[in-house]
């Protein structure tokens, strides 16, 4: 589904190479985890895939079901099925969470040539999904992410993901800032979306999240490249021994 080939990326503003040849294929129905030390390029990868400004692709490609993702506007990528759960969800004062969700859902439906969802259907759906994530009516009414706790923000990301039903879910350190209960809630939300037709790329520092979201593959990223790939046991190795051994081994 998602094919990343030899992806090289540098910052637009300074001549600094961040990704130095990433190769990765995420198949439908699979969960891939990316782990790696700070500054290895994990978040950059998620931003480049979702279309954030400030990065320049100097070499390589990324395609979703054969379509060139890197050439699309962020909203086109979203409509094509890419979703990024932000590490730091953005606060948008003045825009109600509900308005935001409904605008997003209908914008994507429109882009795909589908009819807009009626207000009643939308309400029903959002209430059901919100309930699973323990998001109350007040959180739906409040401005997007404004005054939300760290855990509430992350749950709100998963709610958006559940409403938008993307093909390719990218989670950027969704576990950061979460206590154990909140992490469980978020993981349950992600697991509920696991499906044969959907791929996941879970970026995390810690193995803990992967106890709840069982990955099919674990990749270790270092200095802009994937340096090692394995099964869930690789995450345990990192948890027990840190990155030093693995990095020494591949050096």
């Amino acid at each position: 589904m998602l094919d990343i080939k030899n992806l090289h990326v540098q910052l637009e503003e300074e001549d600094k190479q961040i990704l130095k040849g990433v190769d990765l294929t995420v198949e439908a129905g699979k969960v891939h985890a990316i782990m790696g030390p700070n500054g290895s390029g994990k978040s950059t990868l998620s931003y480049v895939l979702s279309g954030r400004d400030g990065y320049e692709v100097t070499e390589g490609s990324a395609t979703l079901d054969g379509e060139d993702v890197l050439d699309m506007e962020p909203e086109e990528r979203a409509a094509a099925g890419i979703f990024l759960a932000f590490q730091y969800p953005v606060e948008i004062p003045g825009v109600g969470n509900m308005t935001f969700l409904r605008t997003a859902v209908n914008a994507q439906r429109k882009a795909r040539g589908e009819d807009e969802m009626s207000a009643t259907d939308f309400l029903k759906l959002v209430r059901a999904k919100a309930k699973d994530l323990k998001i109350d009516a007040d959180m739906l009414k409040r401005p997007v992410n404004v005054g939300f706790s760290g855990g509430e923000k992350k749950r709100n990301e998963i709610l958006q993901m559940a409403m938008l039903e993307p093909k390719m879910c990218i989670l950027d350190e969704t576990d950061s800032g979460l206590d154990v209960d909140a992490m469980k809630l978020v993981a349950d939300g992600v697991n509920a979306l696991r499906d044969e037709g959907r791929g996941f790329l879970v970026i995390t520092h810690y193995q803990r999240l992967l106890d709840h979201i069982q990955p099919d593959y674990v990749h270790i990223m270092a200095d802009g490249k994937i340096v090692k790939t394995g099964g869930p046991e690789l995450a345990l190795e990192v948890e027990n021994n840190g990155y030093a051994d693995i990095l020494a081994e591949v050096a």
Partner: protein
């Protein structure tokens, strides 16, 4: 002291084309106002108070013509249950208006009010008080020459809003309207205003709110793009009274809205807010002066301007806290969202405080659209145009939320929405 020759000539030229209506009870106020205009002179570009807004077209003897504009859209407040009072190019239109009667409210026309009238104590009086420390000659001119207006007396809770609707039919029209509103103790009213009014519109509203009275004011200034308007509101608030005013301006080549509020009774509350969205040849000026002259009063000024394609926004806002006005809570914010490099926002926030136990804060910012927020919205599939619109409405929200009534908030948001989608085509 003699006026500078240029100012003298401009004032003479303007006065030469005006006829003072014979107003019975208002005659002495009008004569008084005329002599004040003569001694102050009308505004000129050299006046400090007109540094950011050119007054020439507001002062010149003949109004610059303005094309009228008609659309099939439901006008703002169209769905609100209200008592309509219609002025066409500054002339009362009885046929288009509702019967001027409502429980707890009496309404008279300025033009045909009887010889002795309650408004005599207010007409020109609050306007005169508002001339210190800053001159507002256009308001004095208004008091002297206003040809029409309404005198609204509220003695209890009004069952529905009074809606002043200003239509513009003649391309050369030059209207001067003067309203007086008196809200008695414990009474409550909402006043709505909308419409372009005339090619050039000089409007003054004097508002006296007795102890415990409440007045809400929500205004949407008309779409006719070439129109010009200079408006002034003078409000005097008694103890525990509430005055909340909001204005949306979405078009108009030149608009100057002055607001002068005096908190004279303890525990009074005054909120004045404005949102404007300007595109291209658009100049909008909010000039606000709030005086705290009693204990424990609260005032808020919230002004937001969205500007693009070379539009200009001006904010001059002052909080004056007089000696003894302890426990004053004053807040003032003026912000602009500049959608391109050609637009500009000029702000002059001022605080002048003579009491030592007060909380006053003020802030003024100018900024572009929040790129982080924009990316967040786009990453969820919302196109750049609609995402920018969402952020624009969000930017204005703090001002719009100052309107207490949610249905009226929706009316205003609907207008902003329509404006944004017209711009997007």
């Amino acid at each position: 002291m003699a006026l500078p020759k240029v100012k003298q000539d401009a004032t003479d030229a303007r006065l030469a084309v005006l006829d003072m209506p014979s107003g019975g009870w208002s005659d002495s106020a009008r004569q008084n106002a005329l002599s004040r205009v003569r001694s102050m002179g009308l505004p000129s570009a050299r006046d400090e108070y007109w540094k950011y807004t050119k007054p020439e077209t507001l002062v010149q003897p003949v109004a610059p013509s303005a094309a009228t504009f008609h659309s099939d859209e439901t006008p703002v407040f169209g769905d609100v249950d209200r008592l309509k009072i219609v002025f066409v190019d500054g002339v009362f239109d009885a046929e288009a208006s509702d019967a001027m009667a409502m429980e707890h409210v009496t309404i008279d026309r300025l033009a045909d009010a009887p010889d002795i009238h309650w408004a005599k104590d207010i007409y020109g009086e609050l306007e005169t008080r508002g001339q210190t420390p800053v001159h507002r000659p256009l308001a004095a001119l208004n008091t002297a020459f206003a040809s029409d207006g309404v005198l609204i007396h509220v003695t209890g809770k009004a069952p529905k809003p009074i809606s002043l609707l200003y239509r513009h039919e003649a391309e050369e029209s030059d209207a001067i309207l003067h309203h007086v509103v008196k809200v008695e103790s414990g009474a409550e009213l909402t006043i709505l205003e909308n419409g372009p009014a005339a090619a050039r519109f000089n409007k003054c509203m004097e508002i006296e709110i007795a102890d415990g009275g409440i007045l809400h004011h929500v205004r949407a200034q008309g779409r006719d793009h070439q129109r010009r308007a200079a408006t002034a509101m003078f409000a005097r608030l008694g103890a525990e009274s509430v005055f909340k005013s909001f204005t949306l301006t979405a078009n108009g080549v030149l608009t100057r809205n002055e607001m002068v509020v005096e908190l004279t009774g303890d525990d009074a509350i005054a909120h004045v807010a404005g949102a404007c969205v300007g595109d291209g040849d658009f100049h909008h000026d909010d000039t606000v002066f709030i005086t705290h002259d009693a204990l424990n009063c609260e005032s808020r000024q919230v002004f937001k301007k969205v500007l693009r394609n070379g539009a200009t926004g001006v904010f001059q806002g002052k909080i004056l806290v007089k000696e003894g006005a302890q426990k004053t809570d004053g807040y003032q914010i003026s912000q602009s969202l500049l959608l391109d490099d050609d637009s500009q926002f000029l702000a002059k926030p001022e605080l002048e405080i003579y009491a030592d136990d007060v909380a006053c804060s003020h802030g003024s910012t100018s900024g572009a659209i929040d790129e982080e927020g924009l990316f967040y919205l786009r990453s969820r599939g919302i196109e750049e145009g609609p995402a920018t619109d969402l952020l624009t409405i969000a930017f204005l929200a703090e001002a719009v939320m100052e309107i207490e009534d949610e249905a009226l908030q929706d009316e205003i948001n609907g207008r902003v929405d329509a404006w944004l989608s017209r711009r997007r085509g």
